[in-house]
Amino acid sequence: MVNLFIEFWHLTDPNVVWVLSGAILLGSSTGVLGSFLFFRKRSLIGDALAHAALPGVMSAFILFQTRDPFVILGGAIVSCFIGFFFIDYMVKHTKIKEDSALAIVLSLFFAIGIFELTYIQKLDIADKSGLDKILFGQAAALVQSDVIILGIAALLSLTIVVLFYDRLRLITLDRQFAQSLGINVPFYELLLTFAIVLSVVIGLQIFGVVLMAAALLFPVAAGRYWSDSLPCILMLCALFGAISGAASANISYLAPQMPTGPWMVVTLSLIFFISMCFAPNRGALMRYLRTTRNRNKTHDENLLRTFYVICERLSSYHESLAPEQVLSVRNMGTNALRKSIKRLLKHGMIERDNTLYRLTEKGLNEAEKITRYHRLWELYLTNRANIPAQMVHDSAENVEHVLTPELEHRISDELGTPVQDPHGRVIPSSDPFVGGIRS
């Protein structure tokens, strides 16, 4: 096994080079074209189109009795288009819903294909064996002449994307805007459909009818986690598609009796899973960390402000307080409170006094800042938005955590450096304490 693996990557066998380059090219073209379906929210149409190709392949074989790639490709393209227009007709002109239309075409065309396949198997035609490999794909079965034709078709579909990139992007992301600009939308849609059909049809050889949807869908779903810009996502799609193509070619070489499609899907799932969890910004892990950090910050700031408010009532800012006192003023889970106290102790915002806690100088400054934000915002809402004073508290609870010093200055200037909030309490000054004395 290991020897075969090394042998494969030494690329000494010319056939390996052909299969590998073909697989990489096909993988990247399906990945790129699939992303256009994804962004038009029609991901599953790829599944229907792949199934719709089957009767074309079989009919072409019955009619011409040859495995010539041109004939097979032609048949597949024709039946793909018939399937596509049938879906389109049903959605536009009958009350059949889109998902039903997809499922009808998918199952009906596939049934016709299987019917023909089983019919062929009982006929007496030479060269009929291996026709069923198209169901699950078989990369190793590619020969040089196949690879050249498939490669040209893959390049053609990629060229269409590159040449008409601007138009295709427009009609994909905002169809109505494209229409209003006077772009010939039906023409470019047809062109895009042609490119998609082409890449679906040529991908069948490696990925198989049944799992073609995955080859179209996984690269873009994974790429979407990494970036927000279309060119970047398309590059990633090409890369992921190429990786999966190479992996399936490799597996097909190691275990020729294995279908390649499923292995390609497993490779792609791995890429997808990694992207979903670990991608920066949109990945699940990073999103989880970000929400946790925000929640902790909110808890800490709430706690500091509660300390401040209690101390303010006692007119002594370095009073030691018990956690129960905090809970009597602010509704907070005991667990959240304990963790928050631990974090504030670590950051030197509060200090321990036997079983009690009191604000440090640093903590007092921070607490003053948040209280100032809170009360400034309350005042701003009552003065400028005419909201009754008893209703501004909840909004201020949220805004106090997101205000910046810059915004604070502008609000303060706008209100003429106020000193009292709508409830008659003092708005703390923005100057920090130093050594217990306001500077």
Binding site: S43, I96, S269
Partner: protein
């Protein structure tokens, strides 16, 4: 009973049970979830067989229900937590689970009694040979009893839950407002679909289950005005497709299940073109100018 009658009985029962739940799936706009489930129950089948080593009906049903629910759950999970479009998450979940199942089958060929090709289009012609015994007597094909069980279960499910199913099929928010637990009904329906799929699986394979779930139901959808008539009509269309499909296959000497699905499609196109209110024929009639005498 003769071989031919058994096959016809199995095909009809399969058509009936698929059409019953299929009508509900189509009304809920979940045809593609039916497609996804019909692929993923294979994994349930394979795993159940690998773990227990038995092919008893209970084990298979358990595996199918479990994997069916996992599919629906994972789809929702990707949709909500992964922030992925609904149809993209369906595509990702079912291709992945199906690929895993196919790999397991091809790695353990010989140990698992399922053929790669047959899982796609089944082999109903051999179903009558796979019989089961009851009290030492041969009582007929396994597939027949399984499908009979599921057809009855589906019938009971729909009769008992008719009002609930109707409410969530047409207006899920109204159903929620009326105090129905929409999620429970949803998962119950998914369970029934998984059961139907797995019992039809061995006879007709994955894709043709989708055909029988979706095509008769949509044919009925074209011409019916109430959910009741839609369910009845889809069952009738499914039976018609099963019987005519069988004879087509015998005539052409090809796969029976593929022929049944083709006949279902043929009936669909017939109704679409000639009988439905928005058919081509009706529109041509209407576009004719009114002639004054």
């Amino acid at each position: 009973m003769t071989h031919e009658l058994w096959i016809l009985a199995i095909a009809c029962l399969m058509g009936i049970s698929c059409a019953l739940v299929g009508a509900l799936m189509v009304l809920r706009k979940m045809a593609m979830i039916g497609d996804a489930l019909s692929h993923t129950v294979l994994l349930g089948l394979v795993l159940a067989f690998m773990i227990t080593g038995s092919r008893s009906i209970t084990v298979m049903f358990m595996g199918a229900i479990l994997v069916g629910l996992i599919t629906v759950f994972l789809t929702d999970f990707l949709n909500r937590m992964g922030k992925l479009q609904k149809d993209a998450s369906i595509g990702i979940v079912f291709t992945f689970l199906f690929a895993v199942a196919v790999i397991l089958i091809s790695v353990y060929t010989g140990e698992i009694d399922i053929d790669q090709d047959h899982l796609l289009y089944g082999e109903i012609a051999f179903a009558p040979f796979d019989t089961i015994e009851w009290n030492g007597r041969d009582i007929g094909p396994r597939a027949f009893w399984m499908l009979l069980l599921v057809a009855i279960a589906n019938l009971v499910f729909i009769t008992v839950g008719y009002r609930y199913l109707q409410a969530i099929a047409f207006n899920a928010s109204l159903a929620a407002a009326l105090g129905m637990t929409v999620n429970l009904i949803h998962y119950a329906l998914m369970t029934m679909v998984s059961l139907t799929t797995v019992s039809s699986f061995e006879a007709v394979g994955a894709i043709l289950v989708v055909a029988m779930l979706v095509i008769p139901a949509n044919t009925a959808y074209l011409i019916s005005k109430s959910m009741y008539s839609m369910i009845i009509l889809s069952v009738l269309f499914a039976i018609a497709a099963s019987i005519s499909g069988y004879y087509l296959a015998v005539w052409a000497d090809a796969s029976i299940s593929a022929a049944i699905a083709m006949m279902a499609g043929f009936i669909f196109i017939l109704v679409l073109v000639f009988f439905s209110p928005d058919s081509l024929l009706h529109r041509i009639k209407q576009s004719r100018p009114i002639q004054c005498p």
